[in-house]
């Protein structure tokens, strides 16, 4: 029996009067690739934003239910400033920023920050208080290697990250997401802005990474989920239609008829 890394229970999310997630519950296990598939507008991105609490930035979003990462409810994370001031041991994630570093996120469109390539990757470690040059150098090299970008940029680490090509920027984004040593990496349709060759390279990277971390892969390419994931969840209109291992989901006889139809391109 594998360990639960993330437990989601009865998660509801609404934007103003419109409910987009209708009370969903599922677990994500440690060191698996967990794919979420489903048509547009089915609440996939919103789900990820709940996990790392970037949903806080959406003005009219209302969340209920629990999301636990390593047993700690992320919705209850405060600042624990006074706890630390008093010398007590803070909880697993002492503040929401620490949670966001533990649950990394790669957005659909590549975003190179208007900084040098080096600073792009060193940004998160610096934000967490790391300043030693040697540590930063090591992290930058490791993450760029992991994201399969090192060889292309090692000669020009100090040129602007925004001047890289789209595919390179997406790998830079992944390197940046790895730089804060996440325990969970969420990828939100990472391949929509890049070419198939780069996509395959990144997929290889993910297969490597899965030895160390848990990966949640949101995609609307069902074939990508089939290639990469251990388990796949089919989300439709804010509800879980089916969640099972890939052998079941992508077989000829998943439990739900809709899954079969979606996976095989009959609807969606």
């Amino acid at each position: 029996m594998p360990d639960e890394k993330i437990e989601v229970r009865n998660l509801k999310l609404s934007y103003g009067p419109r409910e987009v997630l209708h009370g969903i519950s599922f677990d994500v296990y440690e060191n698996e690739i967990f794919a979420v598939i489903g048509p547009a507008q089915s609440g996939k991105t919103s789900l990820l934003r709940c996990m790392n609490r970037t949903i806080d930035f959406v003005a009219n979003a209302r969340v209920s239910g629990t999301i636990k990462v390593d047993g700690q409810n992320v919705r209850k994370i405060g600042h624990s400033f006074f706890k630390r001031l008093a010398g007590k041991r803070p909880p697993r994630f002492s503040d929401v920023f620490e949670l966001r570093r533990a649950v990394g996120m790669v957005a659909p469109l590549p975003v190179g920050l208007p900084l040098s390539i080096y600073d792009n990757v060193a940004f998160a470690p610096r934000a967490s208080g790391l300043t030693r040059r040697a540590d930063l150098d090591a992290i930058v090299e490791k993450c760029l290697r992991q994201a399969a970008l090192w060889d292309e940029v090692k000669e020009r680490l100090h040129s602007l990250g925004t001047k890289l090509s789209g595919g390179q920027q997406q790998r830079l984004t992944i390197a940046r997401a790895l730089s804060h040593q996440p325990e969970v990496l969420c990828l939100d349709e990472f391949s929509i802005a890049i070419d198939p060759v780069t996509t395959m390279r990144i997929e290889d990277v993910l297969k490597e990474l899965r030895k160390e971390i848990t990966i949640i892969l949101v995609t609307n390419l069902t074939q990508q989920a089939r290639r990469l994931a251990d388990r796949t969840m089919f989300l439709w209109n804010g509800e879980i239609v089916e969640l099972d291992s890939n052998e079941v989901i992508f077989s000829d006889s998943p439990k739900d008829r809709k899954t079969y139809e979606y996976v095989n391109g009959i609807f969606g």
């Binding site: 360990d3 630390r84 967490s128 208080g129």
Partner: protein, 309 residues
């Protein structure tokens, strides 16, 4: 059990407490600065009103007379009268005349810049307009007093050079840059799809502007005009120097007039602090504050109407 040994102990770098505390402090200072704008607006009203308020109980002062009488004799020995109607009339007549001059040119300029000219010309024109907006009001007043008044006497047949028309021309020159830049923003905010649809239907550019763009941008253009009015009503030095100094209801555009703002600027220096005259001038300030407050709020609501669409 496959629980990895590192799971609970994995140590992540954590920011130092002083850094967190400093940041929190800074964020509160930023919040405070944000609220300062409200504080300042309230403070302006409170302090101006505080200086004005005692006159409300003065028996020589009558609030009805303040608004309806044209008799303004603040320093008279026997018959002190504080009627601002002539000043209000002066303010509104010069503003109206200025707008009659500025609105066609301002909107025309906005349309030309946004629809007709080439990008390079546009850049140049926008810079010129920005520079035009930067000319200090006292310089405009000086121009009114020296250049414009001479022109009006020589070519306009005016008995005195400093008069309502002079002030209105100067105010128009000051208001045009505002109308152009805000009007151009409003036109730019009309989606290109409107233009493309119009062109696809074979409309000429003029038809496009007249039938499509002006209706679509009308709120923004109205707001541009309102803000121009706001500036003209509140302008002090230029009208002080260019409109002459007669407290009277104007009968023609070549009559000299005095506005609310110019009146305060001209008389505040001579009114002893705390005297009824001094307080009445502050009361005029309250009136001016209220007028511009209403004009600006209206402009804002009109603009917001655009954004909601």
């Amino acid at each position: 059990m496959s629980s990895s040994p590192t799971r609970k102990q994995r140590q992540r770098p954590r920011r130092a407490l002083w850094a967190v505390a400093g940041e929190t402090l800074l964020e509160w200072i930023i919040r405070l600065s944000g609220i300062s704008a409200i504080i300042f607006v309230l403070a302006i009203f409170v302090f101006v009103f505080r200086e004005a308020a005692p006159v409300l109980t003065n028996e020589e002062f009558n609030l009805v007379e303040f608004f309806t009488s044209i008799a303004w004799y603040p320093t008279s020995a026997q018959n002190v009268r504080y009627g601002t109607l002539a000043l209000i009339a002066g303010t509104f007549s010069v503003t109206a005349l200025a707008m009659a001059l500025a609105v066609p040119f301002g909107l025309g300029g906005a349309i030309y810049i946004s629809e007709f000219c080439r990008p390079r010309t546009r850049e140049v024109l926008k810079i010129v307009i920005e520079l035009l907006a930067a000319v200090p009001s006292v310089v405009w007043g000086f121009i009114g007093l020296t250049v414009m008044s001479r022109l009006l006497v020589e070519y306009g047949g005016a008995p005195v050079g400093v008069n309502m028309l002079n002030g209105a021309i100067i105010l128009a020159l000051m208001a045009v840059p505002i109308i152009v830049s805000i009007g151009e923003d409003a036109l730019k905010a009309v989606p290109d799809s409107f233009r493309e649809a119009g062109i696809a239907m074979g409309a000429s550019r003029w038809q496009l502007i007249y039938r499509v763009l002006l209706p679509a941008a009308k709120n923004g253009l109205l707001a541009a005009v309102l803000l121009g009015i706001g500036r003209a009503v509140g302008e002090t030095m230029a009208v002080l120097m260019a409109t002459g100094h007669a407290v009277q209801i104007p009968h023609g555009i070549l009559d000299p007039i005095r506005t609310l703002t110019a009146n305060v600027a001209a008389e505040l220096g001579e009114a002893p602090a705390g005297s009824p005259h001094y307080r009445v001038l502050f009361m005029t300030g309250v009136l001016l504050f209220t007028i511009t407050f209403v004009v600006n709020l209206t402009a804002d609501f009109v603009i917001r109407g655009v954004k909601r669409k």
